[in-house]
Symmetry: C2
Subunit: 368 residues, 2 copies
């Protein structure tokens, strides 16, 4: 299980196309995964998520531990039947959320004590606890518990990296299920030497896949790309690489060129709830008056359910009228856009046309 | 066009099964129609509305006139392509909303001047204006502009009824499109003599269908049933009868027994957004702690998308987590419940088993 096969490589970049085998189906890489934080991709049924082209979805350990509780989900058969997602699921470790959502937290060598953002109650995550929760949730890919510092704080990054590395080993030791792939997470902020050191350490632990955390959280695109290049050289070639939390179209292209296989982000669904459409020519604010009588679809040539059926004028009307359907339709479109972009990169790598694909794509989008 | 054929009658009640032909398909009666006030059934795509079993949907003249404007919808081809509903659509006249939503209004013999509930701007509806708007919207069934008084205010009902009758004639005269069925509306509050007089007058105008307005707005179930019986005797037998705004399960059964063919109501979708499920055994508050670990579907034996896939525990989790999917899943279930109830009554009337159906149904539900 959890075999990763590289089926094609682009000769001029680090891009590769692969297949990662999981108990709930093959993950064809490069892939973009939408986020179902609370065991639902916001505003969509699982049928709509699948129809938008997604095959892998994320869920969130921090949120589901707090509500409805990982033991409840375990007792109801795990995340797959609970949220009715038959394909592969990935849960993060809760590390990122503890550091970004909880306003009160105390880190020590053993773990993190934090206050729930829901009711203020106190909780504690350790590497062992994070793995136990993720085993209860039952995703196909689970993540090591890590610490996620500000990318530009050198001192904090050094200190946190030591913990993240120890915790990665403890997560490995704590794992009891063999039907879940545990991925390690490379940290190190925006510092090349720390990233190099972390990728070498995490890559050396023999995880079936490795993730790159702590990017896309404040550093520049140039810094992100530089870090990806450092990490790419240090991580094992024969394991999938997962860039956590990056979901701008250009992030996907830049990441794939630098050896990344898996992406996830709340961006497509969050933008949708804020009236924005992701297109290959940039973002559209669908509330804009220019769309008032626009009979064309949100993105010409797109075959998602939104674009195949509805006009920009209708989507704008739904937004102004405060109708939930606006978020649903734009979520479908935005997920479809990113999932399709990743799939087309895969097809281009296999077809040997990745260079042309990137060139054509970058004519439309800034900063790639 | 707009032929109504009664295909079966129940011998012991006034129930009948019929077919009403429209340009966008046959309406098989008895039927329940969900409401898409702003050209969307809230929280659902048209695909989900159709999958829930609905064939006829409503849209709202008052709302769509104010936003996005009926001329915009006309210029985009009318409501059918705008909201992507391929089946029959019915628009109300705006009368009810002018009297229930606008907090400032002035009625005179010619029409109503009212303040928009959106931006406070002043507008005027006359019978001619209501028909012109509805012709722009382009539904299959359009409604005469009426006045909808409190059901228990005798003096106001008498005065309003005279206007409603004159306005019905003016609507008939104003109609220019032959591909829309204009229905008259019987008013008269909770007063048998006024209802009798109104049904005789409206029924005598030769509309292809007749509606019963001003019920389900404050009178008792006994008063509603009594009014339906008066109206039933006075309205022409060979035209469909539409009871406006009634959507409790027992309203459908009581109405069909008293000769009603068509029902609509915001109830199933509004209840869904307030965490309530309509079932044959009554309403369930899905937020209730008793469902925390309940693996059974919202309603056992129901084959809607919600019940076929998800547990009560999952639906409750979505509600507590504030996820939009809760409203979507419960809207699907609640619409499916009412649409199926109407369809099963039709099947029972045709099969000659309506009496048994009513008996079995009333064992589960109060006040029918």
């Amino acid at each position: 299980m959890f075999e990763f096969t590289v089926v094609a490589r682009d000769p001029s970049t680090r891009a590769r196309a692969g297949v990662f085998r999981t108990p709930h189906g093959d993950i064809l890489t490069p892939i973009f995964a939408p986020v179902g934080t609370q065991a639902t991709v916001k505003a969509l049924t699982p049928t709509q998520v699948a129809d938008a082209g997604a095959t892998l979805v994320l869920a969130n350990t921090y949120h589901l531990y707090l509500r409805p509780g990982d033991e409840l989900i375990r007792d109801l058969g795990g995340l797959h039947p609970f949220m009715q997602w038959p394909g592969p699921i990935l849960t993060d470790s809760g590390g990122f959320q503890v550091f970004s959502l909880s306003d009160t937290r105390k880190v020590d060598a053993d773990g993190v004590t934090f206050k729930s953002h829901i009711d203020g109650s106190m909780h504690r995550f350790t590497p062992e606890k994070s793995i136990a929760i993720q085993e209860n949730l039952g995703a196909d890919i689970i993540m090591a518990f890590d610490e996620c510092p500000e990318p530009l704080d050198r001192e904090y990054n050094e200190e946190a990296l030591a913990r993240t590395h120890t915790w990665a080993e403890r997560c490995q030791a704590a794992q009891t299920r063999s039907d879940q792939a545990l991925f390690g997470i490379v940290q190190g902020g925006a510092f090349a030497d720390l990233r190099q050191q972390s990728a070498a350490f995490i890559g050396g632990l023999g995880f079936p896949g490795n993730a790159i955390g702590g990017l896309s959280v404040g550093e520049t695109k140039e810094q992100m790309n530089a870090m990806l290049e450092v990490v790419d050289r240090a991580l094992p070639e024969d394991r999938p690489r997962y860039l956590m939390g990056a979901g701008m179209p250009e992030d996907l292209v830049n990441g794939v060129m630098r050896g990344v296989d898996i992406f996830d982000c709340v961006l497509p669904t969050r933008l949708a709830r804020n009236d924005a459409a992701l297109t290959r020519a940039g973002r559209l604010n669908m509330r804009n008056a220019q769309f008032t009588r626009d009979e064309s679809p949100v993105e010409l040539g797109c075959d998602c359910y939104c674009c195949a059926n509805f006009s920009r004028a209708y989507v704008r009307h739904l937004i102004l009228a405060g109708e939930m359907l606006a978020a649903t339709l734009l979520s479908i479109h935005n997920i479809h856009m990113l999932v399709t972009l990743a799939r087309e990169m895969r097809e281009a790598i296999i077809a040997g046309t990745f260079a042309q694909f990137v060139e054509a794509f970058c004519q439309g989008v800034i900063s790639c």
